[in-house]
Symmetry: C2
């Protein structure tokens, strides 16, 4: 190895879910929304003045922040936006978790947390989920962490810890910033957003990628105290002063302009999820009781990897994770009624043949 | 200060050039292109299928990488793309400059380098420009740095060091990665791109923000050896797996599809710059001989801050930097013929009144 290579910061990258090239597949592997974004998004793109692209975008994304402020009833100076939740979370790790002391997150959770910790040389400890996959609340209440991050609902389990339990964790940790990652909160869980008034160390992150069907646009956001948001913006502006492009800022505003469409689509996904739970149960699967747009299923008689491979061969993509506590499970994103019917039709036949 | 605040990573953010709200201004302060992007960009936006935004974008940006590969004659696996040059450079700092040893860059240069170094806790030393503002080549040839970054042409001086001098620096530093930041290279300087075949530790970064008139879209890119690009992608994927949104990927491809338009606009800016040099000289200004889309001017009789303020009062925005070696200068972006005429008309009168 030549000498410059010795200085390279080597990391093991996160592996995102497969994006199959063929369009002839049922894609239930990356928690995307099966419905298109609001029609207003189409108009925003069509109306966009391409000549304006010669200029830098508004670095403060004031239009989008204003629309978020109106939608969520939170003052503009308590809102932060980034290029997807991942950008918001990475900036938060850099801002709040680099004191050199250890941070905490669950052992089974969003697989990017430990990647960022490694990336930014942040020591961490995982708090194991309880045997039923629920968060070990007391494990997070010791008050000695230098940072805490918990998704609610958790991924890939889909479980909602509930506001009371989360508030207990926040209350027990005034010594550090607590991030509640609410990427999936719009599918039936309760947001802890109101608690930002009470705890100035609470950061609540959300995204347009799932419930607003804009994974392709990369828009994440966070709510917190003025102080927290100021610190976060300082780090963001010292990293890249113009992160969110001009078209995306307009797309985000458009998506927020149609709350009825948003509610209707979330409800459709919730209803389809509940229907899926019944059908998974009928087929002998068990699963934590998801409040998200995916279900983390396990079959007591057939190995998850076998089901995964059989589905894949039939152009149905779901997600399988390695790892001791999760390799017996599959994470299945909720699709349209037609997609889910096709999934269950295949699974019914497949399990019958296996039996 | 409450205890969580003690753990916050506090930084002094970079201050970008002012983006005036009024449209009735002549904006020569952020090195934007005065012309719109290629017409193909308009079509790409109009043709974009908004429904596809529900899905994650291609994390590899294969379409854009392919178009860059065709345009520059560089294999796809030697090209990296990011959300603007700033993103590409920040990822490069994280990938190549975090060994704990000191990196080098000029004392007068792009103001983000020291911000990233602070952000990522990278020790650095600056190599002072020579009195004529040119790069001190020998100062970069000691062979003991853990990283080197030099913009060519340099900002805010606009000076081109020339390929021979840059190659001497690269050849003298096999022990570390050398980044040549070519944000402004398309306005008449020679790119060191061919040298990536010879030096596997050379990274050449460029951007769509200036010469391709797409500052609003946030597209930066880099060329290097396969090894360098692989390391960079590993860090990128461990930071944010989906950075560049789907529309921007199409916009980038469209911008590359019209090389004639690109050449025509670059030439117009170069011609206008040369005309501006004559007029600045006539008005008594001196300046380094710029090869970029800006000129770094100094007037021996009137303070830069006074000229800056007078211009600003008349809705002409240029850039003034604090700092011992630069506060007597103004960085003036090259605008359209009309904008430059207005600038010189005002300056002529203003300096006459002052005399």
């Amino acid at each position: 190895m030549s000498s410059w290579e010795e200085k390279v910061h080597k990391v093991t990258p996160y592996t995102p879910g497969e994006q199959p090239k063929s369009t002839n597949v049922i894609k239930l592997n990356t928690n995307e929304n099966p419905y298109p974004p609001a029609g207003a998004v189409q108009k925003a793109i069509a109306d966009f003045d391409y000549e304006s692209l010669r200029k830098y975008p508004d670095p403060t994304a004031a239009g989008l922040i204003g629309a978020l402020s109106d939608t969520y009833g939170v003052p503009a100076d308590q809102i932060f936006v980034g290029v997807g939740s991942d950008d918001v979370l990475a900036m938060s790790f850099l801002s709040f978790f680099t004191s050199g002391e250890k941070i905490l997150f669950p052992d089974v959770t969003y697989s990017f947390y430990d990647v960022w910790a490694d990336e930014f040389r942040i020591p961490f400890e995982t708090v194991p989920l309880l045997p039923d996959f629920s968060i070990d609340i007391d494990g997070f209440c010791k008050g000695d962490a230098a940072g805490i991050v918990i998704p609610n609902p958790n991924a890939p389990t889909g479980l909602d810890a509930g506001t009371a339990a989360l508030e207990k964790i926040i209350r027990s940790n005034p010594q550090c910033v607590v991030i509640i990652d609410e990427a999936y909160v719009d599918f039936g869980a309760e947001s802890v957003l109101p608690l930002i008034e009470k705890y100035d160390n609470l950061l609540v992150t959300q995204t347009f990628s799932k419930s607003r069907a804009l994974a392709g646009s990369r828009i994440g956001f966070a709510f917190g105290s003025k102080k927290l948001i100021k610190y976060l913006n300082d780090v963001k502006y010292s990293f890249n002063s113009y992160t969110m492009d001009a078209i995306t800022q307009k797309v985000g505003v458009a998506a927020l302009s149609d709350p009825e469409y948003f509610k209707m689509r979330c409800l459709a996904i919730i209803n389809e999820r509940e229907r899926a739970k019944k059908r998974f149960t009928e087929l002998g699967f068990d699963f934590p009781d998801s409040k998200s747009n995916f279900i983390f299923v396990h079959h007591p008689k057939v190995a998850a990897e076998d089901i995964f491979a059989a589905l894949r061969e039939n152009n149905i993509f779901v997600r399988h994770f390695d790892g001791e506590r999760v390799h017996d499970h599959l994470r299945v994103t909720i699709g349209t009624e037609e997609q889910m019917d096709a999934l269950f039709e295949f699974l019914g036949k497949y399990l019958e043949e296996k039996a």
